[in-house]
């Protein structure tokens, strides 16, 4: 007799709090994928049912809701988390209950839990490429600014290490603002940036403060085409919030941009907007949340079960044709082979893709500290050709 019971899965992203914009896009990407999976007959005829709670960006609430999803709602798999502090809060819970977390966000690396699948970029899939490109095209005198928590500290350390390897590489300053920073927190900082005149600024500011940084940067009159802000997290969602005048010229490193021209990507974007409207801006985290849900469904179809021990072997090594291109889960470290790209915001507020990896992608190496330059090819197009 075929099992026709619905399958409950946890969805744990904040739709309120400082990181709500991105996390809402991750939640809706997950719902979007679940809808597609169900429309295609579910998983072996079983309907996928999301269990959703809003942890409001607070690590303790991620932990409490993860516990509740597992204990009371009987989920085996949770799609969730954005900030590292929230992932760290959920890991002990999934480890204790032998469940699985799928985590669709770029993060700082140096982690492995057997109960996590990491589908966002590791530093060797975004920081390395960004450092390489920026030092080549702009110089290696760098000004670092970040939000005050673990991801920016570690990302800035990684970037500093890359920069200090380059001849003439110099860290001019490293500044941090609170996660709930306000406009005035950036006034002194952009003044200091203007005075110190770095070759580029590396920002790991996340959440609502992102817009404030770029706004203050434009207001004080620093020319983004000469001294851009380079980021690992500033994406379409934030660009839409801050507006074109402020965003144009700045650079982001990510495996996915809406502007990827493939039919596969553009058709999917059209379907998403048709269902969910224009309010949510697809971005790197949205794309990872979307493909990891489909990846899970394919693995479970094969496994016939979503219990950890049955499901995991079908996830490890699995390939998938994602919107960014072909990806695969690395069986040794549970991270994902991705397709690094660099995008620069153009006058229309879209990302022009100015560099990308070879189609074979870049294997994740979450414990990498030095950058070898292998597997990474710059497009043979100078930045000027695409800008303006």
């Amino acid at each position: 007799m075929a099992n026709s019971d619905p399958i409950h899965v946890g969805v744990l992203f904040s739709t309120s709090g400082t990181t709500a914009t991105i996390e809402r896009s991750q939640a809706f990407a997950t719902f979007f994928a679940i809808g597609e999976i169900n429309a295609a007959g579910g998983i072996n005829g079983r309907e996928l049912v999301p269990i959703y709670y809003d942890p409001q960006g607070i690590p303790k609430q991620y932990q409490a809701f993860a516990e509740r999803m597992i204990r009371d709602d009987c989920v085996n798999v949770i799609f969730g988390c954005y900030m590292s502090s929230t992932r760290k809060a959920v890991i002990p819970v999934v480890e204790k209950w032998r469940r699985l977390l799928l985590y669709p966000t770029p993060y700082e690396g140096f982690e492995f839990s057997p109960h996590v699948i990491y589908t966002g970029a590791a530093p060797n899939q975004n920081s390395a490429q960004l450092a390489d490109y920026m030092t080549r095209h702009y110089g290696a005198r760098i000004y670092l600014i970040g939000s005050d928590y673990i991801y920016p500290y570690e990302s800035n350390r990684i970037m500093s290490d890359f920069i200090l390897e380059v001849p003439g590489g110099k860290k001019l300053a490293e500044r941090y603002v609170p996660l709930d920073a306000s406009e005035k927190d950036f006034i002194g900082i952009v003044k200091d940036i203007k005075a110190k005149a770095p070759d580029f600024v590396f920002s790991t500011v996340v959440g609502k403060a992102t817009r404030m940084l770029y706004q203050a940067y434009a207001d004080i009159g620093i020319d983004a085409s000469k001294t851009p802000i380079a980021s690992l997290t500033t994406c379409e969602a934030e660009i839409a919030e801050m507006g074109l005048r402020i965003a144009a010229g700045h650079i982001t490193s990510a495996p996915y941009f809406q502007s990827i021209a493939s039919e596969h990507n553009q058709a999917c974007l059209a379907r998403f907007h048709q269902q969910f409207g224009e309010e949510i801006e697809p971005n790197m985290c949205w794309e990872a949340a979307y493909f990891q849900t489909h990846l899970f469904a394919e693995a479970m179809r094969e496994a016939g079960d979503d219990a950890y021990d049955a499901l995991l072997p079908h996830l490890l090594g699995r390939e998938y044709h994602a919107l960014q291109g072909k990806i695969a889960i690395n069986p040794a470290n549970h991270h994902t082979r991705l397709n690094p790209r660099l995008g620069r915001v153009n006058q229309e507020g879209n990302f022009d893709i100015i560099a990308e990896s070879a189609p074979s992608g870049v294997e994740p190496d979450p414990y990498l500290v030095t950058h070898t330059g292998e597997e990474w090819n710059l497009l043979q197009r100078p930045p000027e050709a695409l800008y303006g």
Binding site: F110, F112, P114, Y153, R157, D161, Y176, P366, Y367, T370
Partner: protein, 205 residues
């Protein structure tokens, strides 16, 4: 966590060494050893496994992990295992009891992993063990130098005292005499001091 914004020093050095490290693991094959090997490979180290332990370490071994249980410690202790090891040693223990921990420390372990082994914690143990090993090495060298210096200073003042007593001169003059002799004989003032002490010993016996 590194305090942000202070130094221009790259954090790479400790990790770069680690990524090329050749690690010997003396542990029977089981889930613990698999977890350890897999995590070391994720970190980027080269890990070699062996059980029972070898009497001699393979050439170019950088770090050793070794199982420390009652059975293992009862057997003949291999030469590489001890407080004067030239490379970091990390013990793997099954019990955190005083006997086991006492054995681990007296064998000169720079770090300890407790089984069941988890992936998280291995890198931290590894980094701290290497760091403490290097600190100890640096401090031991410095200590040896200081001991030699102190001994020399003692000998010089003893020789000075002999000259003051036998020649009826001041301490400053005694030092001057010794320094002139050292220059004349093209040797160190410590050598001269030792010669004076030696001669005085012979004469007074």
């Amino acid at each position: 966590m590194a305090s942000p914004g202070k130094s221009q020093r790259s954090t790479l050095d400790l990790f770069r060494g680690l990524r090329n490290a050749r690690i010997m693991i003396f542990h029977p094959k089981d889930e613990n050893r698999d977890t350890l090997v897999q995590q070391l490979q994720r970190i980027g180290c080269q890990a070699l496994t062996m059980w029972p332990p070898l009497a001699e370490l393979p050439e170019n071994t950088d770090i050793v992990f070794f199982l420390l249980n009652a059975e293992a410690s009862a057997k003949k202790k291999p030469a590489w295992l001890g407080p004067s090891s030239p490379i970091p040693l990390i013990g793997i223990v099954e019990y955190e009891n005083p006997t086991t921990l006492d054995t681990a420390t007296s064998l000169g372990s720079h770090g300890i992993l407790v089984s069941p082994i988890h992936a998280s914690g291995i890198l931290a143990t590894l980094i701290l063990a290497i760091h403490h090993f290097q600190e100890i090495k640096t401090l031991t060298k410095r200590n040896q130098r200081l001991e030699q210096k102190l001994q020399a200073a003692n000998q010089i003042s003893a020789a000075q005292a002999i000259l003051v007593r036998t020649r009826n001169i001041s301490i400053t003059e005694a030092y001057k005499v010794m320094r002139e002799q050292a220059m004349l004989k093209r040797t160190t003032i410590e050598e001269i001091a030792r010669a004076i002490i030696h001669a005085d010993g012979i004469l007074s016996s």
